[in-house]
Symmetry: C2
Subunit: 316 residues, 2 copies
């Protein structure tokens, strides 16, 4: 079953990484975790953190300001705003995407909705916003990701506090795309959801369960998507996997097979930024001429995993 | 700008109204609100409430059990699950749609995501799930709504405690639809979001602001959608407006003009069930032979408002 052809896609990406940082080596020492583990297993030397007066809305606005610097899009052209987060402002009422609409002065005719997904969220939301926009004849939309897990992390819990960083991204979805969707696949295992869940307002993680999930299910889905897409594995220029942790990534990459040189591991200055990890990376590559075909795979909370291949649009 | 043609749509709907109830007249008396106001202005004689051991997930499962009784769909055919809520289980981590996937034994190949929207949520999510499914060649999906505002209502606040009821619904979206989307329109005014927001974990409502919004913006959007759709207003068999309160509905209907006889006001035994109010009504009419064209309009939290016209699919 092939996906339908699509003429909306990714035109540009901008990122806001908060300037405030936690020194992760110092944090590791407080937890009796040595530098080598922090750098080689987790892979994050420091972790960005939203300041106390920053919100998801303000971080999204910062990302949008950066988009304006690099793109010709104007706020009054925006027809759709999606915010992917599991930590919305004001407990989600109103939805953060409505607050962002006001914060960036997008028109009242903007369709706005929030999507509650974790590390698989970017892949899902790329497909969702494009499908929704195409159905309704929209031409410019903004997909924001911002999930400040710092707000729900217990700083005494070394399983989570050494891992997650805060970031916000915005992806411009338009009818003048650099990359369009070719084929996607989605999976869910709610029965395994206990591995990453909120308890009494704090994030709880079973690291071993998440690690086993990443090493088993992600390589399988990635290779299935490649096969179903009809794209040759060798033709994929770039594999962007969710940057969960360095050790998990290295092993997941190994299991996928034959992609080491094309798969960045790049979380030293960000940590795991949940649904922002893939767009933070994609921003660095989207304008490179040699990048024509990109596979993205997000996985985590749910358990949920989603993989998509994007290619350059066929020239008209 | 016309919406594209669509071959997925609404096949069936089932509803779970929790059996536990609050006597709204007795509740009114505690607030020094007389029976006449409760019955004629609010319009709800009693309000269903989830029991303490019920969750969004369990209520959605109950709705799905009812769907199984009336429809031939099987859990293992489900390819997509959307849950529309602003009160997800476990604070949204994992997303409730993943928990529902496990609770109803849907396959692991099910794409699941939560959408954070209030009273406009059903209209948005109908379009979202259909667009997402069509993009990915999916044939059977489940759209759940369940937003138990009872969990965030201050029982001492007469502005909110007399208004909201709990319910869950499931809409089967399929390639054998009774109704398909014809034309939709969406609007957002985040700058007015203060009118319905969460503060310190509790819902706050500025009733006058919401009332003015409903009476001004909804009639305008409804009449615009009719005009843009090319459907004659007289040909619309049924207008399903979000059942906010009786007085607000009566006045909004009056402002739309010429639709009184075709617009049910029906919240006496449910109250305002947020994103469930439209599907709770639609379930009562979807199998009526005389109902071929339906306009649905949801409005509230955001502020957000969305209107769509559904018609019978063109026979092949």
């Amino acid at each position: 079953m092939r996906n339908i052809e699509f003429n909306l896609g990714i035109q540009d990406i901008a990122t806001y990484i908060p300037p405030a940082r936690i020194d992760n080596l110092a944090q590791g020492q407080r937890h009796d975790v040595d530098d080598d583990f922090v750098l080689q297993k987790i892979g994050a030397r420091s972790l960005p953190r939203l300041a106390v007066d920053e919100t998801v809305t303000s971080a999204c606005r910062q990302a949008f300001e950066k988009l304006l610097e690099k793109s010709s899009v104007k706020a009054d052209e925006v027809e759709c705003i999606v915010v992917c987060t599991q930590n919305p402002d004001r407990g989600g009422i109103p939805h953060t995407s409505a607050l962002v609409q006001a914060a960036i002065n997008a028109p009242e005719s903007t369709a706005c909705f929030d999507v509650g997904l974790g590390c698989s969220g970017y892949v899902y939301c790329l497909q969702l916003i494009a499908a929704f926009m195409q159905m309704h004849g929209m031409r410019k939309g903004l997909l924001f990701t911002c999930d400040p897990y710092s707000k729900i992390i217990d700083s005494d819990d070394k399983n989570t506090s050494l891992l997650f960083g805060d970031a916000a991204t915005v992806t411009l979805i338009s009818d003048a795309p650099k990359l369009v969707s070719r084929h996607a696949k989605f999976s869910t295992r709610g029965a395994g959801g206990e591995a990453l869940t909120k308890k009494d307002g704090k994030l709880f993680m079973n690291g071993r369960a998440v690690f086993n999930f990443a090493l088993t299910d992600i390589p399988q889905q990635v290779n299935e998507v490649i096969k179903e897409s009809g794209v040759n594995k060798n033709e994929i220029d770039l594999f962007l996997l969710h940057q969960g942790s360095k050790f998990m990534l290295e092993n997941t990459i190994k299991r996928i097979g034959g992609i080491v040189e094309r798969t960045p591991i790049d979380l030293e200055s960000t940590g795991n930024t949940v649904s922002s990890s893939i767009p933070v990376l994609l921003e660095k590559y989207i304008n490179a001429d040699e990048v024509g075909t990109v596979l993205m795979s997000g996985f985590g909370v749910g358990l949920s995993w989603a993989t998509v291949i994007y290619t350059k649009p066929v020239s008209v």
